[in-house]
């Protein structure tokens, strides 16, 4: 039987590699063996599938979300989640779940209280028409996975139009669920793209530094140290301040990724350099050089692949840093700016204790950041265990 094990421990001896479940024989490549071990780590797989789910929902955000991220009904600010507002009975019998419109009034404590207003009913529907978008950037459509039906007579600009807020509304009367889905696109992709840039930079610079040594090494390492000396968050803030005011939100988004990557590569370059220093002294590297293989090829073919297992683990573990970095910037109002959604700027609402008390659903983006970071950490831990050569030597 398989067992969940403490994820950071080297894995003990495994059963002989020829069972019905298709365990690979020891002769398989190290990568295959690692993947095999990874698949047997339940926590890591939980993290992996969570991430698949999150990234998948971000890719299909515009289809899954009932509304566009900026779509609002201003007279429905902080509308509570509607899961409990759905009705399934109209007095005479069971009906498909439906909503009626709702309006607020201020109570004696000047708190907004929403009440459903009798009148027209709006049933929940699947594959309903709503805000138009381009699915996967390819073709234009208005079909959303779910939403309200019966809106034919409703003015789309009415500030009190009926909307479906499964997870509640934010301070401008926008659907939190839709914004979470759209926000995931930014918050989740920042990590992936940022890490990709960092790793290309870090591996190449670190590889060159370790392989060539000497003055090149000294120059590059001092540069890295200078970058690492500056406290990360303040460097982030000052770089952010350098972005021109009139940049569009997409340009700002790209700039934020660039800034985050710029801050991140130095540490990686140092570690890679250390690895490369030891690899470069291996016999096979020496023989490759002796055979006249150009330096460029030696680095790319023989040296860097041996740092890859470290790099993959490290990349996975550092993605949460980017997600948190973007969230932090957006939380301070320096990242993605309203009305564009990111989990960070959505969370900025909850910087006010009063709002959390009355509208706890504004904390959901924080929960999602938490889940994402945990998932990456579990996956990263699993990868580290899987790539750990001691897992093999332990036999």
């Amino acid at each position: 039987m398989q067992q969940v094990e403490p994820h950071s421990q080297p894995r003990p001896a495994e059963a002989p590699p020829r069972t019905a479940s298709g365990d690979p024989p020891l002769s398989r490549s190290p990568l295959r063996r690692a993947l095999f071990r990874l698949r047997r780590n339940r926590l890591a797989m939980l993290g992996f599938w969570t991430l698949v789910l999150l990234y998948g929902s971000a890719v299909f955000a515009d289809f899954l979300a009932p509304y566009h991220y900026a779509s609002s009904a201003r007279k429905k600010a902080y509308h509570p989640p509607m899961i409990t507002w759905l009705r399934v009975s109209d007095g005479s019998g069971l009906r498909w779940p439906y909503l009626t419109n709702s309006t607020y009034e201020f109570d004696v404590n000047q708190r907004k209280v929403y009440r459903s207003t009798p009148g027209a009913t709006y049933p929940i529907g699947f594959f309903v028409k709503g805000d138009s978008y381009r699915l996967l950037g390819l073709f234009e459509t208005r079909v959303h996975l779910f939403g309200l039906r019966g809106l034919e007579a409703v003015d789309p600009d009415d500030p009190n139009r009926p909307m479906l807020f499964l997870l509640g509304a934010d301070n401008f009367g926008r659907d939190v669920l839709s914004r979470l889905l759209y926000g995931g696109r930014i918050s989740l992709s920042v990590g992936l793209i940022g890490v990709a840039i960092t790793f290309v930079l870090g591996m190449l610079v670190g590889g060159a530094s370790g392989y060539f040594g000497g003055r090149v090494d000294i120059a590059i390492q001092r540069l890295c140290e200078m970058l690492m000396l500056i406290p990360g968050f303040y460097l982030l803030l000052s770089l952010r301040a350098a972005i021109p005011a009139n940049w569009s939100s997409f340009q700002t988004y790209v700039a934020i990724i660039a800034i985050l990557s710029f801050i991140g590569w130095a540490g990686l370059a140092r570690t890679i350099r250390g690895l490369v220093l030891s690899i470069a002294s291996m016999d096979y590297v020496a023989s490759a050089r002796a055979m006249g293989v150009p330096d460029r090829l030696v680095i790319v073919r023989h040296v860097l692949p041996n740092t890859l297992s470290y790099a993959i683990v490290s990349a996975t573990m550092s993605i949460p840093g980017y997600i948190l970095g973007e969230s932090g910037l957006s939380l301070l109002g320096l990242g993605i700016q309203d009305p564009e959604a990111s989990w960070g700027n959505m969370l900025a609402l909850s910087m006010d204790i009063a709002q959390i008390k009355f509208h706890p659903w504004i904390l959901i983006p924080g929960a999602l950041i938490f889940v994402t970071v945990m998932a990456f950490n579990y996956l990263g831990d699993g990868l580290r265990d899987a790539f750990d050569p001691r897992g093999v030597q332990g036999k």
């Binding site: 201003r74 708190r111 600009d157 401008f172 109002g333 006010d352 204790i353 009063a354 009355f358």
Partner: protein, 602 residues
């Protein structure tokens, strides 16, 4: 990360970008506002209020987001310092917290000549500085001649005490000063170059001790005197309190001044309180928590916090006092600066954009896109008032309720743009002007100010619906101010100004020659006829001594301003203060909640 966020907020909130708050009397309140019942009640409170004879002792604890930056009131410009030092210094006159009428303070009474140019103030006998030295006319003359009108000292009171007038002989604009002369130890004469209506209010500026400060003015060290490093015991004033201690970043303790001159009706010494304490807290949320925990006795409350505190009133023994619309305004302005940067000869504003910004119809489009109801309900939690006129309804009869109003009407805004002939021809969702430039500009405000950020976001959404692209930009307050007053390279901005009862205080925003005339500052001659008209109205308003005629002048000014829309107003927040119930002599009025000298613990 949160700590950084807090520091940001703290840094921003202590800056005020404001006008001198000077005010003038008059109480009849304008109608036409949703809060009429509240305003009536506040007025009634003021007329019915009588001081109770209190008992000495006790203390009052405030919270503040930042401690004072200087103890030198004469040159301080931010409220964290002026609020504390206001307990230490007094003027010849003061504004009543009940009626906002001017009444004697250091001066017992005054006389004025027929033509209104010569004023004689008779000082109260027996007033002492907090170190025991007598207060005399020499101190008054010293304050005006050596501090306020001293060009080497950036005295914050100087602009308000500088009088603008047209010299009849040369037809040139003059900036006059008030001549101050000592008659005897307890009488001072002020001579004005021309009649000046806000005189009685501006003359309430704090008076400083000659026997302490004269030597610092003489040796040129005045601006570095009385900084926060000074032993607080050396800060000498005539006011009801002195600074007992200042623990930077922790607390400021103010102690009763034993030499204070004022007594209550029964002849007991004032103030009643022994101490006033200011606790320095991290941010607004911490201030609320301290108040809820009973560590502070008084708290300024925002609309968002009102529903949190309201249910706790009885259990925690306090009352939330609603005090009507604030004087401070939040507005949107467009850069209409026609000038060029002398360094690189580039226009401050791109010519295409300048063409839109100087177009009145364009500004009307924007005015029709401001959703004041949503701002009030969603940003101020329903505790706010729409603002249409340049002068807040809080300013009483000066407020003009009948100015041109631009209702939130996106259809009207669209029609206006169609009328200008600007359509979206390339199908990107945004209109282009005659020359094919996409209508797109940067809308900036300071980060950390919740209300302004949300106003920007709402406006951005609405402008997008009419085909105008506004890129919101939330920047650090200091860089925002530097764009406004030195580099002039902004496009549109949402910012606020403080205000007061006296409309003349706003001259440094409205007069075209002023540095804070945001949309085109420091003009040699007014660029537009309506700016010339506003200049003229402000100068006439300051010279008109007949109250009714003054009201008419300022009503006309508000009409001109609303017709031409150099600034588009948003909404005024309600002033709300929470105070513990165990304090006596407290009642909410339009102008205040109590006089600290009469405040006592029941």
């Amino acid at each position: 990360m949160l700590t950084v966020a807090r520091r940001f907020r703290r840094g921003l909130s202590l800056l005020t970008f404001g006008l001198l708050i000077i005010g003038c009397g008059g109480m009849a309140f304008s109608q036409g506002n949703s809060g009429d019942a509240l305003l009536e009640r506040l007025k009634q409170n003021a007329t019915e209020f009588r001081y109770e004879v209190g008992k000495p002792g006790g203390s009052l604890t405030h919270s503040t987001i930042s401690g004072p930056k200087t103890f030198n009131l004469a040159i301080s410009t931010e409220t964290s310092s002026t609020e504390i030092l206001g307990y230490l210094f007094e003027g010849l006159t003061e504004s009543s917290w009940l009626t906002s009428q001017m009444q004697g303070n250091l001066a017992e009474r005054w006389e004025t000549s027929e033509d209104g140019l010569v004023w004689t103030f008779y000082l109260r006998q027996g007033i002492k500085w907090s170190d025991g030295a007598p207060f005399t006319a020499d101190d008054v003359v010293f304050t005006f001649q050596r501090i306020i009108y001293n060009d080497d000292i950036p005295a914050s009171a100087r602009p308000g005490l500088t009088i603008r007038y047209l010299d009849e002989a040369t037809q040139e604009w003059q900036r006059g000063q008030i001549a101050v002369a000592k008659i005897d130890d307890h009488a001072v004469r002020f001579t004005l170059p021309v009649p000046f209506a806000p005189f009685l209010r501006t003359i309430g500026t704090p008076i400083y001790p000659k026997h302490i400060l004269a030597k610092h003015v003489d040796d040129g060290s005045f601006t570095s005197t009385w900084d926060v490093g000074t032993d607080p015991g050396e800060i000498i004033g005539t006011g009801p309190f002195t600074i007992a201690r200042y623990d930077v970043g922790e607390r400021i303790v103010l102690r009763k001044n034993p030499h204070y001159w004022k007594t209550d009706d029964a002849g007991n010494a004032l103030p009643y309180l022994d101490q006033v304490v200011y606790l320095v807290v991290q941010d607004i949320a911490a201030a609320v928590l301290k108040f809820q925990a009973g560590e502070t006795d008084i708290l300024g409350v925002t609309g968002d916090q009102y529903p949190v505190l309201k249910p706790e009133e009885a259990a925690k023994n306090f009352t939330l006092h609603r005090q009507g619309p604030n004087f401070g305004t939040t507005f949107l302005a467009f850069n209409q600066n026609r000038g060029k940067n002398p360094d690189n000869d580039r226009a401050f504003v791109e010519p295409a954009k300048l063409k839109w910004f100087t177009n009145r119809d364009f500004r009307r489009v924007v005015a029709h896109s401001v959703d004041k109801d949503s701002i009030i309900d969603n940003v101020m939690n329903g505790l706010g008032y729409p603002q249409w006129a340049a002068i807040s309804p809080a300013a009483g009869p000066f407020h003009n309720p009948d100015v041109t109003k631009y209702a939130y009407d996106l259809k009207r805004a669209n029609d206006l743009l169609d009328g200008l002939g600007w359509f979206d021809l390339d199908g990107d969702g945004f209109r282009e002007d005659d020359e094919g430039n996409t209508l797109s500009f940067t809308l900036a405000t300071n980060s950390g100010n919740d209300v302004r950020e949300k106003v920007c976001t709402l406006l951005k959404q609405d402008l997008a619906k009419v085909g105008i692209q506004a890129n919101t930009r939330f920047m650090e307050f200091n860089s925002l101010v530097s764009q406004l007053v030195s580099t002039y390279d902004w496009e549109a901005i949402v910012i606020g100004f403080t205000g007061g009862v006296e409309p003349h205080g706003a001259i440094n925003l409205w007069h075209s020659s002023e540095r804070l005339h945001l949309w085109y500052p420091l003009q040699e001659a007014p660029a537009t006829p309506w700016e010339a008209a506003i200049n003229d109205l402000f100068v006439r308003g300051s010279r008109e001594m007949n109250e009714a005629k003054r009201y008419a002048i300022y009503h006309e000014f508000q009409q001109v301003a609303s017709d031409n829309l150099p600034v588009v107003y948003t909404a005024l927040a309600e002033r709300i203060t929470a105070v513990r119930n165990n304090y006596g002599n407290v009642t909410p009025t339009l102008y205040g909640l109590y006089d600290v000298r009469y405040l006592y613990v029941r």
